[in-house]
Every structure is written in C-alpha cells, then in structure tokens.
C-alpha cells in the first residue's frame, strides 16, 4: 500500500445548488401532450443554472464553498468531472482553477464522457493526493447540467449542481477503504460529440441487464476489499433516475433499506456525473464517526468506493445538507425562459443583440488576474484598495506612483451603492440589473447583479459570484467574469 493511504483522505467538501427552479408540473403541462407518461413525473422541481451559469461557474462555486480562498492556494492538483463541460478543447479545470484561487502550479485534469466521471475523478484525486509517497492537497470537483430534448425523460429528471472535495492529510474526515471498478461498453444511452442531445434505450433493459447485472459484483467486491460486510454499510449511494434501482441493488447485496441515501430527485433532479458525489457530500453533512459509506457511479461499467468517516467528522459540525440548501434561495423559472437560456428556443432579443461581443483573447490574458481572479491593487503608500489595479494611486490625497500589491476581492463582502433595472440594454435574461458596489476594503466596481429576481436595494449586501459575462454567438465563446449576487440564503458550510 502507498504511504498516503493511511494518512490522506477527505479534508473538506463544498456543495453548490443553483437557485433557479423549474417546476416539473409546469413542464409536464407544456410537454405532456407529446408523451402522456411524463405526467407521471410531475412531482417536485429541478434545480437549474441561471442564464449565466454552466459547469465551470457551478464548479467554481462548489470549490469556493469548500475552503477559503487562501487555503485553496495550497492545492497542488485539480481534477474536474462533467459530461457537459462547455469546452471540448480548452482545459475546463484550468478555468475553474484560476477563479477558485488555485495557483498556476497546479496539475489540472478534466474527466468527462461518462456518468461515472465524478466517481472516477474522486478516485483519481484521492490517488493523486497520496502519490509520490508524500501527501498533497488535491481538489476534486464535479458538476453537470444535462439537457434533454424537450419532452424527453432526461429533461424531466436531470438537475444542475456541483460538488467539491479536498483530499489531504490534515484533519481527514473520511478516507477511502477500497475501490473496485468494471468497464463494460453497456450503451444505456449515448451522445455523440458535438450533439446537443443523447439517445437512450428502454429503461427496463437498462435496469435488468445493466444495473442489476453489472453493479452487484462490483459492490460486493468493493465491500470485500474493504473488509466490510454489507450489514455494516451505513450509507449506500447509488444514483439512478430509474425508480427503485438503488433500493433493488441494496436488497441484492444485503444492504439495509434504511442505508439507501436520499437522491434529491424531488428538489434537484439528477446532477449527472456529479450526483454520486453530491449524495456523498450530503452524507458527510450528517454522518458520525466510524460510519461506512458505499458509493458507486454507473456508466460503461460500475465504479464503487467504500469510505469510512473518522472521528474528526464531528469537527465540521452539523451542516446544512443538500436538501436544506436546495430548499432555500429558490427562484421559479418559466419553461419558455429555460428553453431560451439553453438555446433550445431563440427569442428575438432585438437589434441590440446584434452587437459583436468578440473577446480579445490577448487583452483577456493580459488582464487574467483581474478578470478571472478579481485582483485589485493596494497602494503601498496610502493603503487604498482600488479596482482596477493602477500604476498611479486613485486616492486624490495620495497619487503615489509605483507598484500596488495584489488584493483579492472575490471573497470580500460588498454593499450596493447604486442600482438600476435596465430594460433597454441587451441581456439574454432581461431586465439587466447592475450598479456600483463597494467592498469592505473600500474598493468599488460597477457589476451586474445576477440571479436577482427583484432590484436589490441600495445599502444591501452582495457577494461575488463567477459567471458567464458575455456570450459570443458568432465565435461560440463564453467569457467569464465576476458579478454580484444578493447575500441571501444559507451557503454550504453553514451550521444548521
């Protein structure tokens, strides 16, 4: 066994559930005419990205909720997992790394193309943290926003969310006891490269020939390798949108019924490659010391991991779980607006939408610290924090010429100084809300207020969120930057 095995494990985790909600009842009433069977899925809501969110922005939020930005600077590798990364040839993990405050020296890896990508990334990150005989801090982050063809079951059952874990050797709250995997080209569904939608096979076949035959041997092997009996499993994590699969598998391998974990289908939907890890994070929110967890991901085979919590699990406190987070800070989204967010409907946004929003990559790279990391400058003479960083201090009583030190604003609280709700300027989600905010350090910026169903009042508090700033429809490029969001609702990491 590698030396890291007994010393490394999960040291922190973060959960992010976007605040838009699509009510399945509303969806069913729009698409039920296509397939009346969809009316059977009328229950609950789906958590959905806002118009300016995607896998990258959700992953950044999950990572930022995981640890403070200073601690994230000590991460040596990031492993990101998704089946819906926005870029096929641009390292998605590198975009996440910069916004999450990771250093430029990190190893960054994208793991994609299967629903079990999250579990695979978890395993790779855990191994990386123990590699070379010396423990490293490694960040694993998984996010997905699957989109189904309107009227499909995938559209009814999927949800958007992100989750992150840090592996390291200090304050380990849970460690991996065993890992087993099989790789089988079982095509329950597939999506060709560059296609928007997947194609799936009959659920009964997937259930009987897939889940029921491929998963049990791996689950059993993993428990055997960990030296844990099925009766000892306290938490069983096996996401599937096919009803009864997790319960059926638990029964097949003799795991207690009450060990089967909540899958949040009614409050989020299934978050694709991130879902097993999302359920694991939720489990850790409530688990006590010495509890055994069996987690699996399914896709072209099955990948199973047995974990055990340590006595330090208590140190994280009684956290808000996924359900509590999902049930707070919710804003209902109409089905038409949802379709337009995803390009499934192309509304007439008017002639202002024709403006060219080309990104000058040379300028963006030149200002990468400002744009991706939200770095302001601090005058070495008078201490004034200012954005953008400048070579001549903006303080009218100073004017010092010289270098300014870096001052990161992303984690700093800010207060709204001015605000408007603009119906004229172009936005893919009108009206456009923006205004000036002032940070605790005194720095100020004019920013968009995002995920704000109402105009936030002057004087109210906002926090920074990393979002898509601009869509360039001609060159298919999304540019990211920071926006302000009203500081409402609990965040992951909040104690109940």
């Amino acid at each position: 066994m590698a030396r890291g095995d007994e010393t490394t494990g999960i040291t922190a985790f973060g959960i992010y559930v976007p605040s838009m909600r699509l009510h399945r009842k509303a969806m069913a009433s729009e698409v039920g005419w296509i397939n009346p069977a969809l009316n059977g899925y009328r229950h609950g809501v789906r958590a959905i990205c806002d118009f300016d969110e995607d896998v990258i922005t959700m992953a950044v939020e999950a990572a930022r909720h995981c640890k403070d930005s200073e601690a994230l600077g000590e991460i040596s590798a990031i492993v990101a997992a998704s089946t819906t990364f926005p870029f096929a040839d641009r390292l998605n993990a590198s975009v996440i790394a910069a916004a999450a405050g990771l250093s430029n020296c990190v190893q960054a890896v994208d793991i994609a193309n299967t629903q079990r990508a999250g579990v695979s990334a978890f395993r790779v990150a855990e191994r990386l943290s123990a590699a070379d005989g010396a423990p490293h801090q490694v960040l694993c982050v998984a996010a997905d926003c699957r989109r189904g063809r309107p009227g499909s079951l995938v559209e009814m059952t999927s949800g958007d969310a992100a989750v992150s874990f840090v592996f390291g050797c200090e304050n380990v709250i849970a460690r991996v006891m065993a890992h087993r995997v099989s790789t089988v080209d079982f095509v329950d569904h597939y999506r060709r490269a560059n296609e928007a939608y997947e194609y799936g096979w009959e659920e009964r076949w997937v259930r009987d020939e897939g889940y029921r035959k491929i998963a049990p041997p791996i689950l059993t092997c993993a428990m055997e390798a960990a030296g844990v009996s099925s009766a000892e499993i306290d938490h069983f994590i096996f996401p599937s949108t096919i009803r009864g699969v997790a319960g059926g598998l638990a029964k097949a391998v003799d795991i207690r019924d009450d060990a089967v974990r909540d899958d949040f289908q009614d409050v989020i939907g299934e978050a694709g490659a991130a879902h097993s890890l999302l359920m694991l994070a939720d489990t850790l929110c409530a688990a006590g010391p010495g509890e055994k967890i069996l987690m699996a991901g399914f896709g072209q085979g099955c990948e199973a991991i047995v974990l055990e919590t340590t006595s330090l699990i208590k140190s994280i406190g009684d956290r808000q779980g996924v359900r509590a987070l999902a049930e707070s800070d919710q804003h209902e989204l109409s089905f038409i607006r949802y379709l337009s967010f995803n390009g499934q409907l192309e509304p007439d946004f008017g002639p202002r939408a024709e403006t060219d929003r080309k990104t000058a990559h040379s300028a963006a790279y030149r200002h990468a610290d400002r744009v991706a990391r939200l770095i302001a400058g601090k005058c070495e003479k008078c201490g004034t924090v200012q954005f953008p960083k400048a070579k001549i201090c903006v303080n009218p009583n100073c004017g010092h010429e010289g270098n300014q030190s870096d001052h990161a604003l992303a984690q700093e609280a800010a207060v709204i100084k001015t605000v408007t709700t603009d119906w004229l300027g172009f936005s893919r989600n009108p009206p456009n809300r923006y205004g000036m905010v002032e940070f605790a350090s005194g720095a100020r910026m004019i920013l968009n207020f995002t995920s704000a169903p109402d105009e936030p009042p002057v004087g109210s508090e906002v926090s920074m969120v990393y979002r898509i700033q601009e869509f360039d429809p001609y060159r298919k490029f999304h540019r990211y930057s920071w926006k302000a969001k009203s500081a409402d609702g609990p965040r992951n990491g909040d104690i109940k």
């Binding site: 000058a360 408007t420 603009d422 910026m445």
Partner: protein
C-alpha cells in the same frame, strides 16, 4: 489663474437644423442646413473662414472618420478642418477649438459645426457603446439610461428622498421641457405631456420611464466666431454674443474607483462650473444667469445638475424643481427651447444647439419663447456615465455684461 477666454471671442452667426427623425437627410444635409443659416447670419462668405472644427461623435452611424465629410459637404476652401469627439460634450468641444483658434490669433474667422445622424440604426435609443477590449472584460453592458438611473438611486439614498417624491420632481423636469418644446419650431418633440402620463410611462431603466429620457434625433448646429474687432468691422457690434467662459472637466477614475464619491453628484460638472464662473466673473450664478441649457439626457441628470452648477443648494433641487424655479417663468429658466428632452440628442450637435438657443435669446430673436431681456446664459454638457465622464460648460453674454 490664466486670463481665460472671457470677451476675447464673439459669436457672429449661428445656425441650427430642424431636429428630428430626419429620414430625408444624411448628416451632410443636416450640416449644410445649419451652416447656410449661420453663414447668412454672420454675413460672410465661405472663403472668409480660416479654420473649422467638426464635432461628430458616432462616425460609424454617420459620416465615418476624419473631418473630410464636413469639408466636402460645406465646400470649405482647403482650410484646416479637425474632427473632435468627446462624448456628449462633442459639440462644445468643437466650439472650444474654434474659439481658441480665434483667441490665439491663428484664425480670423473660425467655424464650429456639430452633427449626428442617429436614425439610421433601425431601432430606437442609442446603440451600445464600445469601450474597447479591456473595459468589456469586467464591465456590465450598460445602456445610457441605465447609467444615469443609478444617480437616482444614490441621490435618493443620500438625501433621503423617497422614490415617489423623486419621481414626481423628475417628472416635473420633463413636463416643463415639453411645455417649452411645444412652442419651438425646430424641436423634434412638440407635444405637451401631462404629469400623470409622464409618471405612469413604461420603465426604461428604473426609475427612469419613457418620458424621463430624452429623444433620439438627427440634427446639426453651428457657430461662426471671430474677434470682437472683426465683428465690429463686419457691423456686428450689437448683433453678436461674447464668449464668457468655456470649460471642460474630465473624470480621473476617482468616481469609479475611490470611496470618496457618493454617486449622487457629478464631480466634473462641479469642477467645470467653478472654473467657468471664475472665468466669466460670475459670483452668484443663481442671480446672474438669465437662462441655462443643461444636459437633460435624463430627467434625473438635469435635477442633479442644478446642484452641481451651484444653482440649488445641496439636497434642495427637488424642492426648487417642484417650486418651478427652473420653469420658463421661474428664477432661472432652464431648457426654454425644450432641451434634449424635446430636441433629442444628436451627440455632436447638442452643445452647439444649446449655444444656439442662448445666442438666439440674448439677441432677442426667440419669437414666441423669447425671455424678457436676458443678458447671460449657460450651456452644460455631460458625456459618458456618472462614474466616468466629461463635462463641458459654456457661458455666453451680451457685450459689456
């Protein structure tokens, strides 16, 4: 303090096109309309013009870059012609160029002409501004009303004015300008609008509704300037208006990046106003000014400008506006021609259009809207956004004032 421009230059002729949706015209036609009027007013030939300044802010929508289109359209005589652009102060900037040229002795007679052709976009309102590849990396895509609407939020918060009182004062600003514009044949919007309609109009950028926003129009205006001596030689001793002050102030980043700015006033307007009053020798503007033409791109801008020009005390613009102090019959009539509200804002033309009204009023030629015996008038432009902008101020008066 430098000696300044006061009484060194006289305006001997001005012209202003009919403003509006001039679907019949190119920018070149609009310029010619203003130029022919000004040349006839000055009583000179084109060949007597030594230098010209063109104010044209949006060349992509109008005539393209350089000053060549102006020189071609007006058949200027291969003289130096310079195109200037300084946002909404572009017209004032063109006038500044011409006035300084005369004051320096470089030109005997100089021309300032401003023009904008905004109605070839295919949609209402101004197009999006492009601030280059750097700004767009982190700035929201802000519309003009969205930029200025923020003044209302900050003004209300600073002076504890509730939203409905502020909205009512803003509505009065627009109501008054519509009353004035209705009797001006060159204005674009000439319909009176009642307070209720203004207050209940659809929102453009909260709290600015449709009638809180100025029109979008095509137009041109122009001025011919020379020295007082040349003016007298041309028989213009009693038919000219003296330039008393021309000042410009530009943001230096403090508003956008330093916590000292409260968002409820325009720093540059205050700075330019102080210098302009000094240059013109105006000690008490509230008493001295016979009329003012200010940059009412939005009603809230005009309201805040009353304090920035030191006409209303800090926090009392709402009361002054509602008292009718800036109405036609009030203490300092504001926008007696209808303002940007009724003329719209063909950017390059606006500063000169304002000067045209002051000039017309001072010479007693304003017809139905003539004020009684005005002697001193002020123009004010504000370009950009409240947090980063350029303010231009002109003061014009009768000789000897």
């Amino acid at each position: 303090m430098t000696s300044g421009i006061r009484d060194k230059v006289a305006i001997i002729g001005m012209g202003c096109s009919k403003f509006g949706e001039r679907f019949d015209c190119d920018a070149q036609d609009l310029m010619l309309e203003a130029f022919i009027e000004a040349r006839a007013d000055a009583g000179i030939e084109t060949s007597e013009i030594d230098a010209a300044w063109l104010g044209h802010a949006m060349p992509d929508l109008g005539m393209g870059p350089t000053a060549t289109p102006a020189s071609v359209a007006l058949r200027l005589q291969n003289i130096p012609v310079t195109r200037v652009e300084n946002a909404c102060a572009t017209g004032t900037e063109a006038l500044r160029g011409a006035v300084y040229a005369v004051a320096s002795g470089a030109a005997r007679i100089a021309l300032a002409i401003g023009v904008e052709k905004l109605k070839d976009t295919g949609f209402g309102g101004l197009p999006e501004f492009d601030f280059g590849p750097r700004a767009s990396l982190f700035a929201p895509s802000m519309s003009a009303p969205g930029g200025f609407a923020q003044l209302a939020a900050a003004y209300g918060a600073k002076h504890k004015v509730n939203a409905s009182d502020l909205k009512r004062a803003m509505a009065h600003v627009s109501w008054k300008s519509h009353e004035n514009g209705a009797v001006n044949p060159k204005a674009h919007l000439r319909r009176r609008v009642d307070m209720d309609t203004i207050i209940k109009a659809p929102m453009i950028a909260a709290p600015l509704g449709l009638f809180d926003c100025c029109g979008v129009s095509d137009g041109a205006a122009c001025a011919i300037v020379t020295t007082p001596e040349v003016a007298a030689g041309l028989g213009k001793k009693h038919e000219s208006v003296m330039v008393k002050a021309l000042q410009l102030a530009v943001s230096n980043g403090v508003e956008a990046s330093h916590s000292s700015w409260d968002g409820a006033s325009i720093i540059t307007t205050r700075s330019a106003a102080k210098r302009a009053y000094t240059e013109a020798g105006v000690e008490n503007p509230r008493k001295a000014l016979s009329l003012i033409e200010v940059h009412d791109c939005f009603s809230i801008t005009e309201l805040v400008t009353m304090e920035d020009l030191f006409l209303s005390d800090e926090g009392s613009a709402v009361v002054d506006v509602l008292d009718g102090f800036y109405d036609r019959e009030g203490g300092v009539p504001c926008q007696v021609d209808g303002g940007l509200k009724c003329f719209g804002h063909p950017i390059g033309a606006s500063g000169l259009r304002m000067a045209y009204e002051v000039y017309t009023q001072l010479l007693g030629r304003a017809g139905e809207r003539q004020l009684s015996s005005p002697t001193l008038g002020l123009t004010h432009n504000l370009g950009g956004f409240p947090h980063e902008n350029v303010s231009g101020i002109g003061i014009f008066g009768l000789p000897g004032v």
